[in-house]
């Protein structure tokens, strides 16, 4: 069935139940909750309609319920819904000992319905408010188009969650096969980050993005960790020591990972001294935050296979670190 044009609901205009969503709310919303807003009633409802006519004897409706294992049947006359008859109504009639009466004699005429363009959360709310087990679904012309139960909602959400999961699997699979799927003489993935001087609040963000990227690419956890540490120290050096920040670059190739930074000053006067464990030029302020242990360059060197540091005072510093990747750990699955 073709979904009808949907008017914008209040939730879509005003956010959750009419109030603005804060960042905090957004963080707290679970995927299931999110889905119950995203999914629309017409996406989860059942469209195989079993209806009754008002003059049908109740015994016949009971047969419909029994055969199709349903507990409520909408009553339709001339294409218009005039009521609903539930198992409870049938039990009532049975209690009075008469199943030969027409449906119209015992159906509920005031039918609670839900529009097909509403989000599933509206249906959940209606279920809990009315304590009903099923709702007829109508379109914008109030024409009956389906039925929805709590079971339909659960099924709909589970299917959507499964799709989410498969999408992530596909994304991961694609990323981890990047180097197999793209054929060239030399494939390099380059990630570039602009690091601002003294931006301590974002310190480590580039490193954590790099770590995530490497994990998606299927890099070995040990290599990912070494890259993470080396790149964090390099990132913090740009934040702590440079005049104007610098550029942090990661180049991923199947056989090696290259991490580099460039900045335009102030430059390192004595590289040998800078490489001494414990030597630091960090200010008192920065030391108070726990930086300036004089271990940054030492840590980097320890984590990588090669490190080159070039610097000219007044011009700037260039740092290149490389980690060699043992056979094919970056191409998804090794063939061994």
């Amino acid at each position: 069935m073709c979904p009808p044009t949907k008017p914008q609901t209040e939730q879509e205009i005003y956010g959750r139940r009419g109030r603005t969503i804060t960042d905090r709310d957004a963080h707290d919303i679970s995927r299931v909750e999110e889905l119950s807003y995203d999914l629309k009633v017409h996406e989860v409802m059942s469209t195989e309609l079993r209806t009754a006519s008002p003059d049908m004897p109740l015994s016949e409706v009971l047969e419909i319920m029994r055969i199709h294992r349903i507990s409520g049947v909408p009553v339709v006359e001339n294409d218009e819904m005039v009521g609903i008859v539930s198992l409870e109504d049938v039990v009532h009639a049975l209690y009075k000992g008469n199943l030969d009466v027409p449906v119209s004699a015992c159906m509920t005429r005031e039918v609670v319905t839900i529009a097909n363009y509403e989000s599933v959360v509206k249906a959940i709310e209606t279920f809990s408010l009315t304590r009903l087990g099923r709702l007829p679904v109508v379109d914008e012309n109030n024409k009956l188009v389906g039925m929805i139960t709590k079971g339909d909602i659960t099924r709909g959400i589970l299917i959507a969650l499964q799709k989410d999961y498969q999408d992530e699997e596909v994304r991961r699979y694609r990323a981890s096969h990047l180097f197999e799927d793209i054929i060239s003489d030399r494939t390099t993935l380059v990630l570039r980050y602009n690091i601002k001087a003294r931006d301590f609040n974002h310190g480590g963000n580039a490193s954590s993005n790099i770590k995530r990227a490497l994990m998606r690419l299927g890099a070995d956890p040990q290599i990912t960790r070494r890259c993470g540490i080396a790149v964090y120290e390099a990132e913090m050096n740009l934040i702590i020591h440079t005049n104007n920040g610098g550029i942090l670059k990661l180049e991923v190739e199947p056989h090696r990972i290259t991490m580099s930074t460039v900045d335009d000053g102030p430059g390192i006067p004595d590289i040998t001294q800078a490489l001494q464990p414990g030597y630091s030029t960090a200010t008192e302020q920065v030391r108070e935050m726990g930086f300036g242990a004089g271990m940054g360059l030492v840590n980097m060197k320890r984590c990588v296979d090669t490190m080159e540091l070039e610097s000219t005072v007044g011009k700037g510093t260039k740092l290149v670190m490389r980690i060699l990747v043992p056979n094919e750990t970056l191409t998804g699955h090794s063939h061994g």
Binding site: D23, R24, H27, F200, N201, G203, G204, N205, S207, S208, K211, R225, G228, I229, Y232, E233, M236, M289, G290, F291, G292, A293, G294, M295, G296, V298, N299, R302
Partner: protein, 118 residues
């Protein structure tokens, strides 16, 4: 060798305050510990699954903790991280715990409880 202590036991026995969102702490094991306020030393010394004791409480501990995947950060001597730091920790899945005790005392008590260097 004894089974590693889980975070739930450690939080209860040391009466630590949980600053970040509640989680199933009993499912998280502390395989060892490392104490330092110098971030580069932590980078070199702390392993994933360790507890990290520090009296640093600013934003940058979150990045370090997340990169190293430590079990939790124990912020000592009642140092108080600001809300932005706590928010970032929640976002990155880093657990922040707090105690009035100094590093030395927390280390000693953890060692007695059997949390030693893995």
């Amino acid at each position: 060798m004894d089974k590693p202590m889980n975070l739930q036991q450690i939080i209860e026995q040391l009466d630590l305050t949980v600053l970040t969102e509640p989680r199933d702490f009993s499912a998280i094991e502390a395989t060892g510990g490392y104490t330092s306020d110098l971030l580069s030393c932590v980078m070199a010394g702390a392993k994933s699954g360790y507890l990290w004791m520090t009296l640093q409480a600013h934003m940058n501990i979150v990045a370090v903790a997340a990169l190293l995947e430590v079990a939790a950060v124990v912020i000592t001597e009642n140092a108080q991280p600001d809300q932005a730091t706590i928010d970032k920790a929640n976002q990155q899945g880093v657990i922040l715990l707090s105690t009035p005790c100094p590093n030395f005392e927390i280390d000693g008590r953890l060692w007695e409880m059997g949390v030693k260097k893995a």
